[in-house]
Amino acid sequence: MNESTGWLLDIYAEEDGATLWLLTDGDQRLRLRMDFDITFYAAGDFPLLRQAWKYLRGKNVRLERTVRRDLFLGERDVMAVTTPDPANIQKLFGDLQRQFPALDYYDADIPITLRFIAQTDMHLLGRCRVHLGDERVQFIEPLSAPWEIDPSPIPLRILTLAPDCNPAVRNPQKLLVKYNQREYSLSLESPRSFLISLKADLQRIDPDLILTDYGDTWLFPQLSTWSKETGIEFRPNREEGRQVMMRKADSYFAYGQVTYRGAQAHLFGRWHIDRKNAMSFGEYGLEGAMEQARVTGIGVQEMARKSPGAGITAMQMLTALRNNIMVPVQKQQVEGTKTLSELIRADHGGLIYQPLIGLHGNVAQIDFSSMYPAIMVKHNISPETVGVEDASEGLIPKTLRPLLEKRLRLKNILIDLDPRDCRVEILKARASALKWLLVVCFGYLGYKNARFGKIESHEAVTAMSRELMLQAKEVAEDMGFTVLHMYVDCLFVQQDGFHKSSDFTPLINAIEEKTGIPIALEGVFKWVAFLASKRDARVPVPNQYFGAFQDGSLKYRGIELRRRDTTLWVRKTQLKALEILAHANSPREFAGRVPDVMRLVEGAKRDLRIGRVPLGELLIRQRLSRTLEAYKTPSPAARAARQLQVHGRQFAPGQSLEFLFAHNESGVHAWELEEALDSRKLDTKRYYRLLDRAIQTIVDPVRSHMFSERLF
């Protein structure tokens, strides 16, 4: 028997078990085979189960009658179906389900990585010692835990490939290759010589990760086409017998809009991540994706492309597997019946206060840290525990507790580190990756397709959050503070004579003691402005504010600067104006800076008038809300689309396009038109209006500071 130690890179199913890839301490990449049985369960009417039993008897499975736990129904008599062939489980289960659709199925669609992790106590990218015998893994011993704060870094070989332009717009001429500190480019002129060079590079470097731009949507499909055309075999997998696994593109509806996800190219034995097709990659990068893989058990390639929701679902499945709870294939819980008054009581979101309009000095913002997950853990809120007294720790709190603790520990380390420390970026990425898992967990309690969701548990969390916010408000008011604004999990408070961070420490301690949920000072604003509705200056708008902290840094929410449909020129000028105002140390000084802002605006308008503003900074981006024919009075976007339609472009509702405001028949000029707009034709007045509006937003609060806003 021999042994190896290293990091676990990848796991996938085979017809006779599983393949593991190990990056050893000796810098080898080992492909290991392992026997791996998979069990799933069926429950239901006994006569039906007997028929299913007969149906399965001739197949490559072991059958057993046993008792297993359903999270909601408790112990159930089930038929356990065990197969030594993980590669064909989908087919086996699919056939069975078609024959016997009335049975309840459990554990049938759990990814093999999760089963492996639950069984071996390993985790992806974790350290382990593997004992081999007869060329197969006999025993695997974990040497690390996913909750370690400082995991030993994996010496990954990363090869970066990127075309010299966006292939959707133009045909790339070169592929830029980067490995370690070396950078060079491969010409795409002759597919034959390109394939030969790339193949040689792959063999020489043997990368663990191929990081691409447009790899999913362009490079890998293109490589396969060229390989067929030239007859040169090209297999980018480390597992040589396998083809690249391509997944089709799809559009899906989420958060009120249609999102497009390009095709995906997955590799075996090494990873491929397309930076341009990875959902949250921009947010936390490779370090974040690896952190999520470590804690969720979903492979890095998958996790980089999936939503955090898939990650949290995987973690819940892991908790279930480890606690011998069966994972239902279909969600079974529906909303319980309620009377109207019960519904009125339950159907609320977080507490959103209307702020006191105007400019306020020395205001502290305090935030509950990870409020919703903290509530779920502290108050044991889980779909199976809601409404049950003295329930033992539920599935959701059990899943979240270590995640929440790890994020808090990372955050505390970050607070103590010097911002220039080289570890800061990595730790931030990892903390942010964990944050996203925590954020979506709450939504998944109420999501109609979530495996372990139940709307009542969702409602219990928001009800508790409103209660805690009111407790916090009462504590603050008891201590003499004015609560200016409250928004879901943060409060803005003020008191005469309180301006240093330490002045607010007793309040923070008191709130934490009362609520039992950690709370932290986000910062003390020198001044902060809460905005009024543009329609009626007497009506406050929640979560629209801007302010300057004592260190001069700005914070703004809900103003033009944060909106994606604001042109870059307006955004830039508004930010510059805020930077001028940030020099003010009090609401009084704020008013004194307004003339400087007005000078800035005049300068910006002059630049626009004399053509010093690049047209690219003036683009307006709007979405089409319907088909072009359906517009009675076409919006600017629709008019721009019509200009392009003349040239054969097609548009569907939901697509967005860019244009400039211009002095011509339609008042707009589509950016994609062949001929560029003559800058003298630019509708400068229209842009002045946009800028004036944005500037008005930030200077208006001066008015309400001087005459407090009267209702009548």
Binding site: G256, L343, I344, I352, Y353, Q354, V539, L711, F712
Partner: protein, 87 residues
């Protein structure tokens, strides 16, 4: 998202829309005061929601009264101060 009931914000907007004929018939100067009543209610959306009333507009009326009472208190204080200064 995913809510079954209308929110208080929606409810106030709808009620205001239902009263548009009433508002239109008022004099322009009264219209401004009328809008102020709804602005007063909107300052207390969170509290109206928390009241969990079957008829939330009743609570909205209370919010309007509250702002009026507040206005009266402020005016009274100002009056008292002015009186003191003249005595």
């Amino acid at each position: 998202m995913g809510r079954t009931l209308v929110t208080i914000t929606q409810l106030l907007t709808e009620t205001e829309a239902n009263l548009s004929a009433f508002r239109r018939t008022l004099r322009r100067s009264d219209q401004y005061i009328f809008d102020g009543l709804f602005a007063a209610a909107r300052r207390h959306i969170a509290a109206i929601g928390q009241a969990e009333s079957l008829l939330p507009f009743e609570t909205a009326l209370l919010a309007m009264l509250l702002e009026q009472a507040k206005e009266i208190t402020v005016l009274q204080q100002e009056l008292d101060e002015l009186k003191k200064r003249h005595e």
